[in-house]
Symmetry: C3
Subunit: 150 residues, 3 copies
């Protein structure tokens, strides 16, 4: 049975679990506040961002940054504040030193003067690595629930 | 005053707190992905699942499994991806070695090709036990906010 | 660059992170269940609660309590169960011993017999202090996304 379908075993690392939570909080806060350069630095230089909503993955920090910048500019023009919530985090250190981190993701949108709405429900599956003591995303795969095929 | 209405005291166990978070992440991922047998194994053999939405509790792993399997089959037929989010977790180890874990629960639904929606807001109150090093649910009580009586 | 836009550094405190999560769980549970006195005791006697939805901050525990009591009475009269979800927590201990805690906040409402809805998306920025071993809120600033100015 694949690892995400096993209950917690004996290798659980408390400190890492909380650190990944804090990492995501800061990473998403930067994205949502339009601090795109800072956000991009949370990916490795050769990071890969793939999604079932995109035909091709974005490869490399520059491509990932460009996509995020464009998306944020469009939201700003529409007067929309977006918030990425990650939750239901599952952290699993790998023998090669990388870290598999799976979570549920909600994207909420609030138009200026309007009502907050859940826009998307997704699963986010990351491969994290540590560089100079810090966590970075080497691979991210986002699967939107509305685009799942049965 | 009952324990859930007291601020954090000196007995707080950091490691346990994160472990319960990870336990719930995997447990709910199994339920939402239809890995019902795996999900059922997160309850004790004599586990009890009660809810203010059900006239009687489900008693024992077999009954709990049957309910979950039926619910998942119905969602699959309707092309709905459901997600259980637990948050606002409160973990309180008991003198007898059991663990009280209270959380808020949101159930979100996304129809294939449609829009994600919050379907239910609940409170989830568990009694967890440890067996062979792993956490298991011995009792779960789910209270839907829409069915609360004043 | 301001601290919330930096990735996690070497000063991260695992135990504190989980403790703040548990603190918020209990604090919000008290508010949502109308245990207003208990909730008010999670603020310092001279605590300050400010919000971009309010022209003036509430200063002191008595003023904070009065506001919460009024809000809860109105919801009870309308038969609405409210839930405060904090997530995406970022905890940053300060050199002076205080703790900066930033989080996203969702407020959900469920009318008796009705459907749960996300009502507000906010950012919550707290200064926490420790007194007699317990965390307390000395300053809280809540920023509603729908009232953000560009």
């Amino acid at each position: 049975m694949s690892p995400q379908y096993q209950l917690v075993g004996s290798t659980f690392d408390t400190g890492l679990y909380a650190e990944v939570q804090q990492f995501y909080s800061r990473q998403m806060r930067m994205l949502d506040d339009g601090v795109v350069d800072g956000w991009a630095e949370s990916f490795t230089e050769d990071g890969v961002f793939s999604a079932n909503a995109h035909p091709e993955p974005a490869v490399g920090r520059a491509a990932i940054t460009a996509g995020a910048r464009q998306a944020h500019a469009a939201l700003t023009e529409q007067g929309i504040q977006r918030r990425h919530w990650l939750g239901m985090l599952d952290v699993e250190p790998q023998p090669d030193g990388t870290i598999n981190a799976r979570s549920y993701a909600l994207i909420l949108s609030t138009p200026r003067g309007g009502t907050a709405q859940v826009q998307l429900s997704c699963v986010c599956e990351d491969v994290l690595v540590r560089a100079d003591g810090r966590l970075l995303v080497r691979e991210r795969r986002v699967t939107r629930d509305d685009l799942l095929e049965q």
